[in-house]
């Protein structure tokens, strides 16, 4: 058995035993490794996680990247607005939700959050994320490509990193259902001016997308020619 397989299996077992969620399915991911690679060149990157807090993920990214992780669980905000009947105020809430400075975040983990937002809310959130992302920073997001089966109870997915190539999907109750799947064109427009650098359509009908912000333009000051 290859050493990498052994490590992968051990981490898988550890993740399962840690939270007692061994029955949750593990799905392959193509884009997570690219996301990590996009950050690994930085000394101490700052990561923004928009999903629920997952202890093993914090440890994984902390050990893998030596990064600072900011956890902003937006699913709680969505649930609170749904419960209070204030969903129409959610776009305005998102505009003021993030105290982080512009260009201060190296990587953003959106997971499948955008599946739960209508277009009115998705745009201000995407704008905020683009604002916070540092030039050359990366953003990971998942989008469903098919309608959920009718009668399914609304639920979020807690994405637990097993290793760079596998994610465990642990469902937990949600106050609202997923929205209609976004076509590829809309996804692209939503995050402009970010550009899509990697995109994978998995067998599970999940579209994994990695966005990157354009690097800062090189200094325009004239460079004296070397002799």
């Amino acid at each position: 058995m290859a050493l990498s397989d052994l490590f992968s299996r051990r981490r898988k077992e550890h993740a399962e035993s840690e939270a007692g969620a061994s029955d949750a399915p593990v799905h392959p991911t193509k884009v997570l490794a690219r996301f990590i690679a996009g950050l690994s060149a930085r000394a101490q990157p700052v990561l923004l996680d928009l999903g629920p807090v997952v202890g093993s993920n914090v440890s994984f990214f902390g050990e893998e990247l030596g990064c600072k992780i900011i956890v902003e669980d937006l699913s709680k905000d969505i649930d609170r607005h749904v419960r209070d009947g204030l969903l129409d105020q959610f776009p305005a809430f998102l505009m003021k939700r993030f105290p982080q400075e512009s260009g201060s975040i190296d990587g953003i983990l959106c997971w499948d959050l955008f599946d739960y937002l209508d277009k009115k809310s998705a745009k201000p959130l995407a704008d905020q994320l683009v604002r916070m992302l540092r030039p050359d920073g990366v953003l990971l997001a998942f989008f469903r490509t098919s309608e959920p089966p009718p009668g399914l109870k609304p639920e979020y997915t807690r994405h637990v990193v097993v290793d760079k190539l596998n994610l465990q999907h642990r469902p937990y109750p949600a106050a609202c259902s997923k929205q209609r799947p976004l076509p590829n064109r809309d996804i692209q427009r939503l995050f402009e001016p970010l550009r899509i650098v990697e995109q994978f359509l998995l067998k599970t009908n999940l579209r994994e997308v990695l966005f990157r912000k354009a690097p800062e333009p090189a200094s325009t000051a004239p460079v004296s020619p070397s002799v």
Binding site: G55, V58, S59, G62, V71
Partner: protein, 183 residues
């Protein structure tokens, strides 16, 4: 070393008095190590449910807090446990911090921060190791420093902590401690 944390854990659900702390049993300790375990347990200090502390709390022994603390807590080389009834609104500096209650403030640990099921932290964590249970609440940032890095503020305040031979939890002169009647 983490056996000590396990010895702390059972005190959390019980009435918080020094007497109860001394009577707690380690979770997994075999009979042969019980005398050692008892000696360790005697060194654990509890701040009970009805105790409210406002100010600066320095110590040189492990501490379990079940009451309310506002201000600053510093246990440089020791384990701080926030029990299920504990409510902390303070900057926390310790070797290891175990959270079963509520913490509102930044937590800096030189070894580990452990937020257990039902525990809640609103603030930034700086620690080389962080464990967050699935039922825990956390909002803030986690800075897992690379090995060899020193937590800044915790080191700066080291000189203000009492000498180790005192082995007593002391409160700074500004501390106003009130032990109100329960409820």
């Amino acid at each position: 070393m983490w056996k000590r944390d396990e010895a702390v854990k059972p005190t959390s659900g019980l009435p918080a008095t020094p007497a109860t702390a001394a009577s707690t049993q380690p979770v997994n300790g075999p009979a042969a190590v019980q005398p050692d375990a008892r000696r360790i347990e005697r060194d654990i200090v509890n701040i009970g449910k009805s105790v409210v502390i406002k100010g600066e709390l320095n110590g040189s022994e492990d501490l379990t807090i079940e009451g309310h603390v506002e201000g600053r807590i510093e246990l440089k080389d020791h384990v701080l446990t926030i029990g299920p009834n504990g409510k902390i609104k303070a900057q926390v500096f310790a070797k290891a911090v175990i959270v079963l209650g509520e913490v509102n403030g930044n937590v800096t640990a030189s070894e580990k921060v452990d937020i257990r099921d039902g525990g809640s932290v609103d603030g930034d964590i700086i620690s080389p190791r962080v464990a967050i249970a699935e039922g825990a609440h956390f909002r803030g940032s986690v800075d897992m420093q690379r090995k060899g890095a020193q937590p800044g503020q915790g080191q700066q305040k080291a000189s203000s902590s009492p000498p180790p031979e005192k082995a007593q939890t002391s409160m700074a002169a500004s501390t106003q401690a009130t032990a109100a009647a329960a409820h």
